[in-house]
Symmetry: C2
Subunit: 100 residues, 2 copies
């Protein structure tokens, strides 16, 4: 997960994995505050999708209330082969938060 | 979860819980095929959100490819008090699938 984060081309992206929940919320909030980002994209795959929604909701509604809102949500699927050569499908989500 | 499903006012809603995955996919597909629905809303709360995205993706891309697409995605939060009087926040998602 972290590997993917470092290779993503967007600077204002937070990729959700299994680190403590508040790490991600703080990451999103800091992008808007100390980095003065106009837009932050919160991304996740598979089982981390629920968490991605939680992080976005907590950041936008509790920490950045009236300042940030959900602008766009995209879902998609990725397919890849596992070690046994079996095709695995995994869902993805991208939640775009913007400054109001 | 199931209680909420039965009290929802929309007929074309599939509420995701912990029944077998394919039950929900079949539920969505049947709405479009045997019920001739033009629109189906797939909803979930909390940890079932990842599953809700999976069900929508599998229904739209594998079973109803070229016939159904994701039209809209909404996320929100619900707050309620637990037995101890503590306020709990839970995220929700609603994915609207429509006939192309």
């Amino acid at each position: 997960m972290e590997k993917q984060r470092s290779t993503t081309r967007e600077e204002n992206t937070v990729f959700i994995g299994n680190k403590p929940f508040m790490n991600y919320v703080t990451g999103v909030v800091m992008q808007f505050t100390t980095q003065a980002a106009k837009e932050v994209v919160v991304k996740a795959r598979g089982k981390f999708i629920s968490r991605c929604v939680d992080v976005s909701e907590v950041a936008a509604k509790r920490f950045l209330e009236n300042a940030v809102e959900v602008n766009n949500i995209k879902i998609d699927s990725e397919e890849f082969e596992n070690k046994e050569g079996k095709t695995i499908r995994v869902s993805t989500i991208e939640i775009t938060l913007i400054k109001k």
